[in-house]
Every structure is written in structure tokens, then in C-alpha cells.
């Protein structure tokens, strides 16, 4: 049973990791906690569903369009909600409140447009399950895991191996200096938002398929957990966010199965607090936080 629970935990944890990467990237570049990320995750799931049932009819295409649309919304959040604030050099807390407001707007808009009831979600990655030595792994779990690992690798390579990633790292150290070096700061920040929103959309859609339903409130608790994952791993460090996300999933699954199912979220957050007490910068964070 332990192995089974571990697989359950890693599956859900890897979707947390995808969303946590988005938090970490935005925080790295802007030192801003993007509270709208959870809502974007939910919105991504809904957009794919809407495109699939209403317009396109082909799930793969709907999924791709859903990711693009959510990315576009991520761009809009930055372009219309945050860029002016940066230009005016307002305190960081103002931007945080803006993202909180945006998350409320997205959630309520989804409620009005789609209704607040739980909606069924088609599972296009369900090809049955295999049982190995008493452990059952469904195709959904395997695909979620593979997709997450793939995306995490791509994102890491992009941030740590490309010029664009270097630009992100530069901006995280000093926006002014980056600007002087000829980096288009606004474009890179927008790109960061697009990538984090697209990752959230992929996670939201995969979770929708995994549970075969979706509702407007799903973003809130995932937002909390993924923020916690990012903190657990060390905010601003991509591998930290990934490990933090997976650990968060495993903690809550094992907590629910071995301690008490009624306290599952409390257990995972208690572990988080203990880790932070002993290692304030997170598991992978250094004293001087290295940003993306």
C-alpha cells in the first residue's frame, strides 16, 4: 500500500510542481507573489473544456488552444494589471493586491459564465490501468507524470541554458542594469507570465481529466498548496519548486493514509512550517536567495 500511496502522491504532487514553477518564476523575476496563479490554473481547465464542448470538438486542438488562450490571459494580467504599477515604482504589496483582485475577478467570472456547479470533464488520457505487484497505476497517472517531468525539464533548460533565461536571471538581479544592457525587460516579464500561465493551464486541464470533473473553487486550495510548495523548495529556485510540489503531494497523501484523512491539509502544512522553521530559505534556497 505504501508504494500505491507514493504513486498517488507523486501524481498529484507533479501537478502542484507545474503550478509552483509558475509561482517561482514570477517571484524570481519580480519578487511578486502572483496570487492569480491558482485562478489561472482553474481558468485553463475551463477554457479547454469550453473549446472542446462548444467550438472545436477535437480535444488535442482544444487543449492547445486552451493553453494559448490562458497564456494570453497571463500576458494581459501583466500588461494591463502590473506594468503600469512597475512604471510608477509603487511598493511590491500593491502588485500583490492586484493579483489577489484578479484572482477574485477570474473566479467570479467563471462562476457567472459557466455556473458554480461541478462540471463533468472528459478524460482523454484514460486507457485503463496496469497492476504491478499489488500497485495499480492508471494511464492518467503515468501520462500526468510524464508530461510534468517533460515540461519541468524544458522549463529548466530554458531558464538555465538559453539567452532568454539569462535575461530573466539578469532582471531578477537588477531591472535597471538589465535595461542598460539592452534587455527588453517588459517583454521578458510578459513572457514569464505567459509561461507560468500556460503551465498552470496544462496542470489545470490534466487535473480536470484525472478527476473527471472541474469546479470554479478548485483554484483556491491549489493556489495555497502550490504557493506552499514554492516556499518549501525555496522561492525562486526552479528545482526547489518542483521538488517542493512533489513533496507536498506526497506529504498530504501519506498524511491522509497513515495519520488521519480528516487532517490531510493540516498535516502537509504542519510539515511545511516545520521545514521552514529549520531551513527558513526552503530546501533548495540559499541564504542569499538566488532568483530565477
Amino acid at each position: 500500500m505504501f508504494l500505491q500511496q507514493l504513486i498517488n502522491g507523486i501524481t498529484i504532487g507533479s501537478t502542484y510542481a507545474l503550478v509552483a514553477i509558475g509561482y517561482s518564476m514570477v517571484f524570481g523575476v519580480l519578487e511578486l507573489i502572483n496570487f492569480a496563479n491558482g485562478a489561472v490554473y482553474m481558468l485553463g481547465g475551463y477554457l479547454t473544456l469550453m473549446l472542446y464542448t462548444g467550438l472545436v470538438g477535437n480535444f488535442g486542438l482544444s487543449f492547445a488552444l486552451g493553453i494559448l488562450l490562458t497564456g494570453a490571459i497571463g500576458y494581459c494580467i501583466d500588461r494591463f494589471g502590473l506594468r503600469r504599477l512597475r512604471a510608477k515604482k509603487v511598493p511590491k504589496i500593491t502588485g500583490l493586491i492586484t493579483t489577489l483582485g484578479i484572482s477574485t475577478i477570474i473566479e467570479n467570472a467563471v462562476r457567472i459564465f459557466f455556473g458554480s456547479e461541478t462540471k463533468p470533464y472528459p478524460n482523454r488520457i484514460d486507457f485503463g490501468q496496469i497492476t504491478l505487484g499489488g500497485v495499480t497505476i492508471s494511464s492518467s497517472q503515468m501520462i500526468i507524470l510524464l508530461v510534468s517531468v517533460f515540461l519541468m525539464t524544458i522549463t529548466s533548460l530554458m531558464v538555465y541554458r538559453t539567452k532568454m533565461g539569462k535575461a530573466m536571471l539578469a532582471i531578477s538581479q537588477s531591472q535597471e542594469a538589465s535595461l542598460l544592457m539592452g534587455i527588453n525587460v517588459n517583454a521578458i516579464i510578459s513572457l514569464t507570465f505567459i509561461i507560468s500561465s500556460a503551465l498552470a493551464a496544462i496542470a489545470g486541464t490534466m487535473v480536470g481529466m484525472y478527476y473527471q470533473n472541474i469546479d470554479a473553487s478548485m483554484g483556491f486550495s491549489v493556489g495555497m498548496k502550490t504557493l506552499a510548495s514554492a516556499v518549501l523548495g525555496g522561492v525562486g529556485v526552479l528545482p526547489g519548486a518542483m521538488v517542493g510540489g512533489v513533496l507536498m503531494g506526497v506529504f498530504e497523501t501519506l498524511g491522509a493514509s497513515y495519520i488521519s484523512s480528516g487532517y490531510r491539509d493540516a498535516i502537509s502544512f504542519a510539515i511545511l512550517i516545520i521545514v521552514i522553521l529549520f531551513k527558513p530559505s526552503g530546501l533548495f534556497g540559499r541564504k542569499q536567495i538566488t532568483k530565477v
Binding site: Q4, I12, P120, Y211, Q212, L254, G262
Partner: protein, 417 residues
């Protein structure tokens, strides 16, 4: 502030007016009852012989307190429609020895405060022999002391709170206490599947915990094993795989779900993903909803649903045998109110029964002796639309348990006990 005061005064005035009416009406009621007592002793005694009743019929009003506005108005509307139909049916069949029963429906908005205001209005009318209401335990229980003190029989179609029946001799619930229902459900499971391993997954609410306790107590006392009991936070828990994996490791034969429809659907789907194909799924009444099937689809096929409420969709009505009495009521109700989009439901069935039981008891036992009237109501010796029910020796209402199953993504009526 001022407006509020004005409104409060208006309510007080209205209450005074109504109780005033009651007082002025008293003269006529007293006179007529004196007339009845003096002039028709023979008639009364023959009526006594015919029905075994003891009292005289001096009152003709049946009152009701239901939510007709606010968030719970759809339930109140079902109640009102069904009671109107019941009163019309009763009057058409002769009424109270030839006199029509008058139905007075008050709007309590589904709020406790309004429920008490309405209660005071209802007890102010001297012509009222019984009342029906309210929707939901909280409003019923807020108003119950008023009715108890005034000696007004209070028939409550779906107040299932375990403390309600003990609030006084005037309280007549037509809904079972949940522990009684789930004891019966456990019995039924044992009868059907024998002494097997039962796993329970329940929502962390009052209802969930009471249900678990009731099921566990009965099932284990019969010799079965409750091999796992796992809880979750309703509408928040999305990932049931940890709980289900843990349950799966205990090798259950039956997985018993105490969940609302959306959580229930998630549990069903995730249990299939974990390869729990051989486990018999059993659900409670909360999931008797089309929305459940929309979410779970054919993955719920083979699942059993047990509860005291029936569903009355056209498909179910066709496949089931609820009896001609019920079928006739459902048909006429849907013809009258169905056009407005209000289909017959379990609330309507219970309200119809409540009104019929009250009026028949008044006919048989008279309305001048409240205690006798309550005793007569509690006999429940008329056909019941919502299914057979009786009070046991402990004073608990016992209802038959209905079993539905899911087949090819639709609900199918299985059997009743």
C-alpha cells in the same frame, strides 16, 4: 432603522389583527360547536361507531408554514402545490362530514425568525386544528415550542433532526431520524450481501458522522465487519486516491459512500481508476440526482442507492411499481403544475401525505381533543404517497427503504422493503 421599526410595528399590528379575528371567530365556533353538541348527538354517535373516533369536528382550517420566497422557495412551492391538491382531493371526497377544509399557507421564508412569527399567527386562528411545516429542521425546531405551548399538532414532512420528536407531544415528524434510516440501510445491506467487509467513506459533517455511527453499529451487531472508515471534507477534497488506496488494502466487498453528488461522483470515478472494479458501490439518498449521473456516467453502473426518498422521473415511474395511489397523484400533480416546470418530487409526496393524514385524522377523531387527534395522526392508517411509514414502540418513525441502481447511466428502481 426607522423603516425596520415601522416594519416591526406592521408585523405586530398584523398579528394583533389576526389574533383579533381569531377571538371574534371564537364566538361563532363556540356557537356552532354548542349547536353540534346539542343538536346532532345522534349523528355524532353514529360517526363514532363508523370510525372509532371520539371527538367532534369544530375546526376546519389546516395551516402551513413553508418558504414561498427566498432561497428555499422551490421546496416550499412543492409543499404548497401538494397540500392544495390534497385538500381539494379530500374536500371532493366529502371533506369533514360534508364541510370543506380550508387551507391557509403562510410564508416563513425559510428563516427561523419568520417561522416563529408565522407560528404565532397560526396559533392565533381558533379555527385551525393542525399545521404542517416547516421545510428544514432549523425553522421547524425554532417554531416548535410555540406550537407545543399552544397545543397545536405540528406535522413536519421532512424534519429529520434527531432532537425534533422529543421537543413535545405535538411534534409529528414524517421524516425518519437519520440514525434510524441508516440502521435500516445497514440491515438491508446485511440481508443482501451477508457478513462481508464493509468500507465506509463519509463526509466530515454531522450527517456523515451520524450515518457512519448508525451503519457501523447495526452492521457490526449483525456480525459483519466494517473494515475501513475514512473521512473527507465535502466540496474541498478533490483527491480521494489516498483514502481509496487505503480502503482498497483492507479488501472490502462493499464501499459505502456518504457524500453529496459531486463528491460521490469523484469517489466512484477514482475508485475505478484504482482498479476497485469488484467492489460493490452503495450510495445514500443524496446522490439521487441527475447531476450525479452527468458526472459519473456509466462508471457508476451497478451501484446501489438506498434511501427513504423516491425519485419520480418519467423513466423511473415507468420501470417501477409505486402503486396506483401514488402513480395517480404524480400524474395529476404533473398535469397541474408540470407546465410551470415543477415536477413531482419527494417533498411534494411528503406534503401530500402530511395534509391527508391530518385531515383524515380530524375526520376520524374530531378536532376538539388535540391529544386524541395527535394519536390518530400517528396511526398513519391511510394510504401514503411517499411510501409506507409507521411509528414504532419507541415513537420513532420507520419508513421503507427504497433501493435504486444505476444501469447504463440511468437510475433504475430495484425494490423496496
Amino acid at each position: 432603522m426607522k423603516e425596520k421599526k415601522m416594519r416591526a410595528m406592521a408585523i405586530v399590528l398584523a398579528a394583533l389583527l389576526i389574533s383579533g379575528c381569531g377571538v371574534s371567530g371564537e364566538g361563532t365556533t363556540a356557537a356552532s360547536s354548542a349547536g353540534t353538541a346539542a343538536g346532532t348527538t345522534e349523528a355524532a354517535s353514529t360517526a363514532q361507531e363508523a370510525t372509532g373516533g371520539t371527538g367532534n369536528i369544530t375546526k376546519h382550517t389546516l395551516a402551513a408554514s413553508v418558504p414561498l420566497t427566498g432561497t428555499m422557495m422551490q421546496y416550499g412551492t412543492s409543499y404548497k402545490n401538494a397540500m392544495e391538491m390534497a385538500v381539494a382531493d379530500f374536500n371532493a371526497a366529502g371533506g369533514l362530514n360534508g364541510e370543506d377544509v380550508i387551507l391557509e399557507v403562510y410564508d416563513d421564508k425559510g428563516e427561523q425568525k419568520e417561522g416563529i412569527n408565522v407560528a404565532n399567527m397560526i396559533i392565533g386562528n381558533e379555527d385551525t386544528f393542525a399545521m404542517i411545516g416547516s421545510y428544514g429542521s432549523s425553522v421547524s425546531m425554532a417554531a416548535a415550542p410555540v406550537y407545543q405551548e399552544a397545543g397545536m399538532p405540528m406535522i413536519s414532512p421532512n424534519t429529520s433532526h434527531p432532537d425534533y420528536p422529543d421537543m413535545g407531544s405535538m411534534m409529528i415528524p414524517l421524516a425518519c431520524k437519520s440514525e434510524v434510516v441508516f440502521g435500516e440501510v445497514a440491515q438491508k445491506l446485511f440481508d443482501q450481501f451477508g457478513a462481508c467487509n464493509l468500507a465506509v467513506i463519509y463526509q466530515n459533517t454531522d450527517v456523515g458522522i451520524t450515518t457512519l455511527d448508525a451503519v457501523k453499529e447495526r452492521f457490526e451487531s449483525l456480525g459483519g465487519t466494517v473494515c475501513a472508515a475514512e473521512t473527507f471534507v465535502p466540496n474541498q477534497t478533490k483527491d480521494f486516491t489516498p483514502l481509496l488506496s487505503k480502503i482498497k488494502a483492507t479488501n472490502p466487498d462493499i464501499l459505502f459512500l456518504v457524500a453529496e453528488y459531486s463528491d460521490g461522483a469523484s469517489i466512484v470515478l477514482q475508485s475505478k481508476q484504482l482498479g476497485m472494479e469488484d467492489v460493490q458501490l452503495v450510495g445514500v439518498g443524496n446522490v439521487f440526482k441527475q447531476e450525479f449521473l452527468d458526472l459519473a456516467g456509466t462508471k457508476a453502473d451497478g451501484m446501489l442507492l438506498m434511501g427513504i426518498s423516491r425519485i419520480y422521473t418519467p423513466e423511473i415511474m415507468e420501470s417501477s411499481s409505486f402503486g396506483t395511489y401514488t402513480e395517480d397523484i404524480v400524474k395529476r400533480y404533473n398535469e397541474t403544475y408540470g407546465a410551470n416546470g415543477i415536477a413531482f418530487d419527494n417533498f411534494a409526496a411528503l406534503a401530500y401525505d402530511a395534509a391527508m393524514v391530518a385531515m383524515n385524522a380530524a375526520k376520524n377523531a374530531g378536532t376538539d381533543n388535540t391529544e386524541a387527534l395527535v394519536q390518530e395522526i400517528k396511526k398513519l392508517n391511510i394510504p401514503l404517497c411517499a411510501g409506507d411509514a409507521h411509528f414504532d414502540e419507541n415513537g420513532d418513525l420507520i419508513r421503507e427503504i427504497f433501493v435504486f441502481s444505476v444501469q447504463d447511466g440511468t437510475f433504475v428502481f430495484e425494490a423496496s422493503k
